[in-house]
Symmetry: C2
Subunit: 518 residues, 2 copies
């Protein structure tokens, strides 16, 4: 048994079942160790951003720690953007990154880099194993960091010589990390929050990972107190659809969010951060709440919204039944627009599905349209680093038997197209819907703030994806994913609904949408 | 005029002509400023690794500073791997990265990250502009850092409010940075190096960016002194082909490089680092030179090899004519193998072409085969972060009117496939040859060191790209690049040679090769 074997054994003893991997020579002993650990499923990703985005999606759906295996500084860097999203989602991800032995690294070989500094820039924990004997303890420590209540992206740096050196015999048991108990808000804070919510001009803002029970409690609290119930703009994963309250969502653009929130004097946060603008603007405040609005955080992102909501509901003696049910979705017909696109998804989403929303501007109507759809779970882009949707769908599909619907804007798709290959390879029930408006539409909108949108020159060239038009059907086929393009809402409904139960494997549907008229 | 206008004007005044860009909202004022700077060509890349790899290729070919425009932490992180390669190539790249205003960033919006730490992890200079009035000076400082003799990847962080705030009137001139004078080695060192080379059992090891003149001088010095002439394994860009000496290249794998270098007592480095193993191995030393071998560095990587070689040649009174000419390439026929693949490229490479070699295991015969080919320039993967080839070809084609041949392994291609779209959009004369063995073959080789290569399980799953097989013809067509697959060396020769002079636009040729028999 060598250090790599000890590492893999410790991961397995801690319930890690899947490793999203793009390994290289410096991780080859870890790869070989995985041969001896059939309970640990390696999933090859052709690019590290796929591996880390899949880990994010896997962690959101499973509720447990997701693991990646990455190759030195460049591998970690390639995965950085989706790890940023995972950090913002507050989900636990453990990166195992192979690095050079110290003595080798000091000679500055080509792949040497400031990998420790790079890992630290992710804002999570960084653990380096210095001796082979320390592997189990270091791996456990890294897992504990990932599982901290303010869950973190945790990176374990494993020098190749630590992996290949003899470890000795396996211990009678490997160190295991117990998931920490949920953190509850202080009773005084709960009482204070309740008082605030009852005082009028107040809102309960929820976010993070929310079950149907959580959302029902939140809705009951809002009903009992007369407060508004709001959902953060980009929650981690929420139960959604018929039977689950669908809170009003805080609007993405500051221009609209500021008036949406302007009537509030008090805000109680549960699992959500204080609403701030996604971007700064010369003429808009960064804080979206009015200047005098008070904020009370019942735990904040990373704490346990479920516990806070249960306490709040109990204190409010709120158990109200289901609120106003959203109407069941109508089957749309006619031209493809953001409205008919959303309606088509809502009309066809299978019960129990996981919906990944990275449709961006094309997806503005999805959340409301899906409110009355068959019950499902909804994941969103928490950190703003596009390229999340396809990999997250990969991870979600590996964490669950549920069908997965990935709604991805064409611009966002291009950051991690390689995930299509892993979807085909793993034969996963994932339907990818590419919302293709052939533009960075949100940037066209932002550019139009500064004056009329030019039809040529840099502003056009840097927001236009239409020259050449990307053929997503060819792209999918390149990776072994069956694909088709639809030209109407009717065709989209047919394409989404036609999948027979028991069908396996991914498919892709290209949905052309016109860019915004600006 | 605002800060963004001042930034763009300063870049233009310093000779920046192309910006490889993937901008977002926080860079929108810079994008708008580019509308008013028609001399600065924005090239949209669908993924930041394409932008940074293109900048690397552009800088290698142009000899000047290449510029990127990137979006916050995730954008820089996505570009990190190819910036690592650029740093290892010793070429100057300036990254302009938009970040949040300080006051906005303190509120921790979704895209906030430790971007300064991330930038520092690249190992180059990091400059933050704090006031709009400081934009020209900060941009000039960042350019100077990029142009430092030990050329660096230089990152300029531009908060959005610095970009959008009023700058006032343009100055009578913008600050400009003069490229520093070439650094010459000390005369004593030149004399000492000459003595070493004459003493027997010595080698002159050259690397970096080398012209035909540089290589002729190096060969003449070797001839006059009796020393061996060696080329580093992965040079930045070298003149190559008929009429240019083609030094023996240090072998990639330590197993072969150690015996290759074992007879040496003294090594003089010019533009190359001391040879060290690419990776560490339990049973091999990291230093590839024998234990007693002395090393003298006449400037080191980042200094000016041309100056050192001129001084060395003058001191040696070496002006020897051309050495042994490599034989002109023969046109191959029959099955596709690494040998016939290399021969086909050599037989057809257009005079003056730029050849980008990221063919990895499939390309082991390229360097020698190309020695007698039409004169060309050859770029290699300097930093080991795969995904360099396609983007570098994009940058090379924008820096030169020369035809570009990109030889890219299928595994490496997958890190930056999106470059195909930019090749089509910019209508560049780039021929992409995908060497498709449907495996991470080098990893299969490395894995086989540890014992018989399994045909299933993790070691197989993490090195096999054959399930599903990637269809590179479909992939290219998705991005508007005409493509074909060849099945023999004859077909490859025809495909490579058929391009008529004056033909514009990219093409892709898929070359299936068998994986190594292990």
């Amino acid at each position: 048994m060598n250090g790599a074997d000890a590492l893999v054994a410790t991961l397995g003893a801690n319930g890690i079942e899947v490793v999203f991997a793009n390994a290289g020579t410096s991780e080859m002993h870890v790869v070989a160790a995985l041969d001896g650990a059939p309970g640990l499923r390696p999933v090859l990703c052709l690019f590290e951003g796929v591996a880390t985005g899949a880990a994010d999606g896997y962690a959101r759906v499973s509720g447990g720690v997701a693991a990646t295996l990455l190759h030195l500084g460049p591998g970690l860097a390639n995965g950085w953007a989706n790890l940023h999203n995972a950090r913002r989602a507050g989900v636990p991800v453990l990166n195992v990154v192979g690095v050079h032995p110290d003595a080798h690294d000091r000679l500055d070989p080509p792949l040497s880099s400031r990998v420790g500094q790079l890992a630290a820039s992710l804002g999570g924990a960084v653990t380096t194993v210095h001796r082979t004997a320390d592997v189990p303890a270091a791996a456990a420590q890294a897992l504990a960091s990932a599982r901290h209540p303010r869950a973190q992206v945790s990176t374990l740096l494993v020098p190749a010589d630590v992996a290949w050196s003899p470890f000795g015999d396996a211990p009678s048991r490997w160190p295991t990390v117990v998931a920490p108990e949920p953190v509850a808000p202080a009773p005084d804070d709960v009482a204070r929050a309740l008082g605030w919510l009852r005082a009028g001009r107040a809102a309960l803002v929820v976010g993070g990972a929310l079950t149907s029970t959580d959302l029902s409690r939140a809705a009951a609290v809002a009903q009992a107190t007369g407060a508004r119930l709001l959902l953060e703009t980009f929650p981690t994963i929420v139960d959604h659809g018929a039977g689950t309250p669908s809170p009003e969502r805080i609007v993405y653009l500051s221009d609209f969010a500021i008036p949406q929130l302007s009537g509030l004097d008090r805000v109680v946060l549960v699992g959500a951060a204080e609403p701030v603008g996604f971007f700064a603007y010369p003429d808009l405040p960064s804080r979206l709440l009015g200047a005098g609005c008070q904020v009370l955080d019942l735990g904040g992102r990373g704490a346990h919204p479920a516990t806070a909501l249960a306490l709040l509901a109990a204190a409010a003696e709120a158990d109200g039944g289901p609120g106003d049910a959203a109407p069941p979705p109508a089957v749309p017909s006619g031209p493809l627009t953001p409205v008919t696109f959303a309606a088509a998804v809502a009309a066809t989403v299978p019960e129990g599905a996981i919906v990944v929303d990275e449709a961006n501007t094309g997806g503005v109507h999805l959340y409301d349209a899906l409110a009355g759809a068959a019950p499902h779970r909804l994941m969103t882009l928490t950190g703003g680093a596009i390229g999340f949707g396809l990999p997250a769908a990969l991870g979600a599909a590996l964490a669950s038997d549920a069908p997965v619907i990935a709604l991805v804007a064409d611009g966002a798709l291009e950051y991690t197209t390689q995930a299509l290959w892993s979807l085909a390879r793993e034969d996963l029930d994932v339907t990818v819907v590419v919302v293709a408006n052939a533009a960075y539409d949100i940037l066209r909108l932002e550019r139009a703030r500064l004056g009329p949108l030019p039809t040529s020159g840099a502003s056009h060239l840097l927001t236009d994806l239409g020259s050449p038009v990307i053929d997503h059907v060819s792209l999918a086929r390149a990776y072994g994913v069956p694909a088709r393009r639809v030209e109407s809402a009717d065709e989209l409904v047919t394409a989404l609904a036609r999948r027979a139960p028991g069908h396996s494997g991914p498919q892709l549907i290209e949905v052309p949408l016109a860019p915004l008229a600006l």
